[in-house]
């Protein structure tokens, strides 16, 4: 839901709210503390009555305050205030404060305090902080000040405040009001210039109206917010934590390009940023000609160019200033042979243009559920891929990441940054999520598809022999495509060539104690468009266990579907699988002479909304055969489906451990 607010409140209401806000501001919203000693806001936060928290709560955030002042020239000054009470030794980490800044976001003030439960308070200032360059990118101007607050011990209250000034590239703000620990009080204060308006959107929380004043100031305040703790296989943390997004803009008469009322506005802004990027040079044109020379069809040409981007252009991100949003020129990316995600998209788009194929930037987030389609925002994206307009007549067989656009027709979405996911597929983390299709005249939200289970296959089959002593030997073949192929390719290609055999040994070791791998081959390892194949032979002594005249054997020889399933007890959040998939195991075990099958595991059939599982074990002559299928149909299992999910994995786990009993018929 979008809340549209401006300062045009009726006079009476405005006065009342103005007085209320004055009271609040007098207490909480003073300028940064100038005098010595901890400020009043920290003492006030420390004196709050706290509810009872679970015993394992490591800290409580007493106050989280974000006070943003927007100036009419677009400059923004934000005062941040945070206070914690440390409850357990694990909570000491909150005493290490990291404040980010860069060349365009100046840190103008930083101070911190500790109020020990007994004893004199401590104060540390910016001069006590350590400054580091901190970045996950290859190069950026991100820096941080790290301040260690003394005596950050259980029972003590710590707090810090800092001010940052910036002129942002987009007129947006986001207020994350939940944390991994409970929050006693959270407050967002926004001061807009006269005549400015804003729109806002709440995610993962009930919308709340702000207190507003005549001075165009707005205050949102929340109390007693629960912790968003990490649970195994939960959706991304940012997809479930509460946040308020705000877009603000000057009066309607002078709308800058970086103020967003709609997704179209975001598209126009991004289009303006990128319109000069897809240039070309003779060298680039020659490269396209060389790469596509042997290709007979447009699709083959597209595959050749996509493969070039994936394999020949190194992922290197250099983000300085607007470089966080704006790609480099295609010619420079080609010349340097490196770039980040938006650079790769740019170069591929430029190359595709040369073979007559249009393509479009697609800003997206690399975690599902962060981008909300009902609120236009540029700052929720962290990745860029490409939508390729398929020429008429292209054979779409094998192209699964297609969305039909009403105006542009079939669009094939492709991520040139992912080195192993071929054209036609989408990386699992980009499926079933929203993205922005940027076109020349704007943009629109698009929901990318969840690829069908049959596009993510693993088929494993084995022909095996059991000796009278219980030794199992034979050959297993695997065929993978889609996500299981990408994952396994990454595993093999990240290993040194000499260590690739160990990848298979490590896998088999989970199921076959004391085995010996006698042969292993991997096919199509670097042919990403083809299925990945594996064949391995092994000998596993003592696989079947003798007990008197009986021999017990586990017919599910290798492969596990249930071993990593999360603990589903005491859970607050849904379970999210990475991808839909269909996987099959088929083993034929030739039994030794002198044994007959005395007991077999019962067949299993489980069918739920999110997935299914079947298995059966049979004897044909002297061959024990075991077949099973495991299917995930939906990647998101809500809380209401967890009982079913628990039962699903229990059935699989029991089947995976089940045994057949053989009886010796001759001495």
């Amino acid at each position: 839901m979008i809340n549209r607010r401006s300062s045009n409140l009726p006079h009476r209401q405005r006065r009342t709210e103005f007085l209320a806000v004055l009271v609040v501001l007098a207490f909480f919203c003073s300028a940064p503390a100038a005098r010595a000693g901890a400020p009043d806001w920290l003492h006030a936060a420390a004196q709050q009555t706290l509810p009872e928290y679970p015993k394992d709560t490591k800290a409580v955030m007493l106050l989280s305050e974000q006070n943003t002042t927007v100036k009419s020239n677009g400059d923004i000054e934000t005062l941040y205030r945070f206070a914690y009470k440390i409850l357990r030794p694990d909570g000491r980490d909150y005493g290490t404060v990291e404040v980010p800044f860069d060349n365009e976001t100046r840190l103008t003030y930083l101070k911190a305090w500790c109020l020990p439960a007994d004893g004199k308070e401590y104060e540390v200032k910016e001069k006590d902080a350590l400054e580091i360059g901190f970045t996950e990118e290859f190069y950026s101007d991100d820096r941080r000040k790290i301040l260690q607050i003394p005596a950050s011990d259980p029972g003590n209250v710590i707090g810090y405040e800092y001010v940052r000034k910036r002129r942002p590239y987009v007129l947006q703000d986001v207020w994350w009001f939940q944390r991994e620990v409970p929050v006693r009080r959270a407050r967002f204060i926004m001061q807009l210039p006269g005549g400015w308006e804003f729109i806002s959107h709440w995610s993962n929380a009930e919308a709340k109206e702000p207190q507003a004043s005549a001075q165009n100031q707005y205050v949102w305040e929340l109390e007693n917010l629960s912790a968003v703790e990490i649970e195994q296989e939960m959706p991304p943390w940012r997809a479930v934590a509460g946040r308020l997004d705000v877009n603000y803009f000057p009066s309607a008469s002078s709308q800058p390009v970086n103020a967003f009322h709609s997704w179209r506005d975001v598209g126009v802004w991004y289009s303006s940023l990128t319109e000069q990027s897809r240039d070309s040079t003779p060298d680039l044109q020659q490269k396209v000609a060389d790469l596509t020379a042997g290709a007979k069809t447009p699709l083959e040409k597209m595959k050749a160019l996509a493969s070039f981007l994936q394999r020949e252009i190194r992922y290197v991100d250099i983000e300085i200033g607007i470089g966080g949003y704006q790609p480099h020129q295609a010619s420079a990316i080609f010349s340097h042979r490196y770039g980040d995600c938006k650079d790769k998209a740019t170069l591929l788009s430029s190359m595709l243009r040369q073979i007559g194929i249009d393509s479009y930037y697609v800003p997206i987030h690399n975690q599902r559920g962060i981008v909300r389609p009902d609120f236009p925002s540029a700052i929720t994206f962290n990745h860029v891929i490409l939508a390729i307009r398929l020429p008429e007549g292209v054979d779409t067989n094998g192209l699964y990441a297609i969305v039909n656009d009403a105006k542009l027709g079939p669009l094939l979405f492709f991520d040139p940054t992912d080195p192993y996911t071929p054209l036609g597929y989408l990386p699992t983390y980009l499926q079933d999520t929203y993205c922005l299709l940027v076109t020349k005249d704007g943009g629109e939200m698009v929901r990318l598809p969840l690829l069908a289970p049959t596009t993510n296959r693993l088929i494993r089959s084995g022909k095996l022999f059991l000796s009278p002593e219980g030794t199992l030997s034979g050959v297993v073949q695997e065929v993978r495509w889609g996500a299981p192929a990408s994952v396994e390719r990454a595993r093999f290609l990240h290993a040194a060539v000499a260590d690739r055999r160990k990848v298979i040994e490590d896998f088999l070791g989970h199921f076959l104690p004391g085995f010996m791998l006698t042969e292993a081959t991997v096919g199509n390892l670097e042919k990403y468009d083809d299925s990945l194949t594996m064949q391995y032979r092994f000998v596993a002594e003592n696989y079947a266990k003798s007990a008197g005249n009986l021999m017990v054997i586990r017919p599910r020889v290798i492969g596990a579907k249930a071993s990593d399933f999360p603990d589903l007890k005491k859970r607050k959040y849904a379970v999210e699988f990475s991808a839909a998939t269909l996987q099959s195991d088929m083993y034929e075990i030739q039994l030794p002479a002198g044994f007959v099958v005395d007991d077999l595991p019962a067949p299993v059939k489980a069918d739920y909304v999110f997935g299914g599982y079947t298995s059966k074990c049979e004897v044909k002559g002297n061959v024990l055969s075991y077949e099973r299928t495991y299917e995930i149909k939906k990647v998101f299992v809500p809380i209401s489906g967890l009982d079913d999910l628990r039962q699903f994995f229990r059935q699989i786990s029991a089947d995976e451990r089940s045994s057949a009993v053989l009886r010796r018929t001759s001495p």
Binding site: D56, E505, G514, S546, V661
Partner: protein
């Protein structure tokens, strides 16, 4: 594997002002320098003698006296085991420097090495022949006597001679019980500094029986194959010390989580453990004991008329380390140890045992022992399992023996007892 720094190819450079000094001369000189420093710190202080007299009785045996003096030394506030303080905290606390053992007594605090020297001073005051020993911990690199770098000797312990035996003690490590050294200080080279330079010796290595994990389970199995009951685990010796040190800065909730996380690794998918009481965290001379309830739905498998009951539900994480066929580096276990499992499973009424796996005992080398046997007593299945590794560093050539040993033990762990329902048995 041994510490990474120990196995990666590297070159160590050293610089010296004593270019004509041999390696032996180097260590003699270092020994003299350390001796002068230590003797000055230990000294002969009447306050120390009085403190020793206060805690021991003339009628105490030598060992009893040493234990009391050790306990007195461990009462000193050990600054090495407190969290790192900020500059402002240190300034405010105004801790005074300890220049000698009497200062340690007077101030009531000291760093770990100062606590060791304080203990040596107490022991000498009580008439014992006690000395500090510089040792080279083996948790990050192994000592190389041919490398003249005294920083290799990065810790200090005490050696006390009682009768004809020398006892190595480390009162400077919090929670370390009398008679035991932390594992990284065991079986390592040490320099005993003396006026004439001193000599190298090797610290003691606890036997496998001094680092024991005992797991006892008393469980009930229902007709659907679900298992439930009490599980008690006791950690002794180095097994307890290691866990105590890891959890020393944790509160109850943190300690509980550490134990729960460790137990998750022992249990297969589908099994869970409700942690009950944990006792002995702060009692170094007692075992660290964990109690709780195990739940394992689908533990035993129904196969037609039979119930297949695995001999153990406790997974062997050791076997997982020996999956690969070849190995490049030596095998390093930190310290010798034993694991004993004693599992009693009450089977449902109406089932009788059809076959039990044969007892197994494997010992491919005198340092490795594995045994497992199962027996039935009326309607209970009783399983005893023992694993002994009496060594800590095995050459890479020994890998295949270890691999066979651990994979064989895993295969034996995976054996199943076969029960048959009485009704079906009668029909046979």
């Amino acid at each position: 594997m041994p510490p990474v720094e120990e196995v990666i190819p590297h070159i160590e450079y050293y610089y010296t002002w004593h270019s004509d000094e041999t390696i032996d001369q180097y260590w003699k000189r270092i020994g003299k320098e350390w001796s002068e420093f230590y003797e000055r710190f230990i000294g002969k202080h009447h306050e120390i003698a009085e403190a020793a007299t206060q805690v021991i009785s003339p009628n105490d045996s030598p060992e009893a006296k040493l234990r009391k003096l050790y306990a007195r030394a461990q009462q000193i506030r050990n600054l090495s085991f407190e969290r790192e303080k900020t500059e402002k905290e240190e300034k405010r606390e105004k801790l005074k420097e300890n220049n000698n053992a009497a200062d340690v007594l007077k101030h009531g605090y000291g760093y770990g090495s100062e606590v060791v020297l304080f203990f040596v001073a107490l022991a000498r005051a009580a008439g014992f022949k006690a000395s500090p020993v510089r040792v080279a911990r083996r948790d990050s690199v192994f000592f190389n006597q041919g490398l003249p770098n005294e920083r290799q000797l990065n810790d200090v312990v005490a050696v006390v001679v009682t009768g004809s035996t020398a006892v190595f003690l480390d009162p400077g490590t919090a929670l370390c019980p009398y008679g035991l050294l932390p594992w990284a200080e065991t079986a390592v080279a040490g320099l005993k500094p003396e006026k004439n330079g001193g000599f190298f010796l090797t610290t003691s290595l606890p036997s496998d029986s001094q680092s024991v994990t005992e797991r006892k389970a008393d469980l009930q199995l229902d007709e659907d194959g679900n298992l439930q009951g009490k599980l008690q685990i006791s950690f002794k010796g180095l097994e307890a010390l290691r866990r105590r040190l890891n959890a020393r800065e944790e509160d109850d909730a943190g300690r509980k989580k550490e134990i729960e996380d460790e137990f998750k690794g022992w249990l297969p998918a589908g099994a869970s453990f409700d942690l009950g009481a944990v006792t002995g965290w702060d009692q170094p001379d007692q075992p660290l004991t964990v109690e709780g309830t195990l739940h394992f739905n689908g533990f035993a498998m129904l196969a037609g008329r039979r119930l297949l009951v695995p001999l153990t539900f406790l997974q062997s994480n050791l076997a997982a380390s020996f999956q690969r066929f070849n190995r490049t580096y030596p095998i390093y276990f930190r310290y010798p140890f034993q694991i004993h499992d004693s599992i009693t499973i009450q089977v449902p009424d109406g089932y009788r045992v059809e076959t039990l796996p044969d007892a197994k005992e494997v010992s491919p080398d005198k340092r490795l022992v594995y045994s497992i046997y199962a027996k039935q007593q009326s309607n209970t299945l009783h399983v005893e399992r023992t694993l002994v590794v009496n060594g800590f560093l095995f050459p890479v050539e020994f890998y295949s023996i270890l691999r066979t040993f651990f994979s064989g033990s895993k295969a034996s762990d995976d054996q199943q007892a076969v029960f048959q329902s009485s009704a079906s048995a009668k029909k046979n």
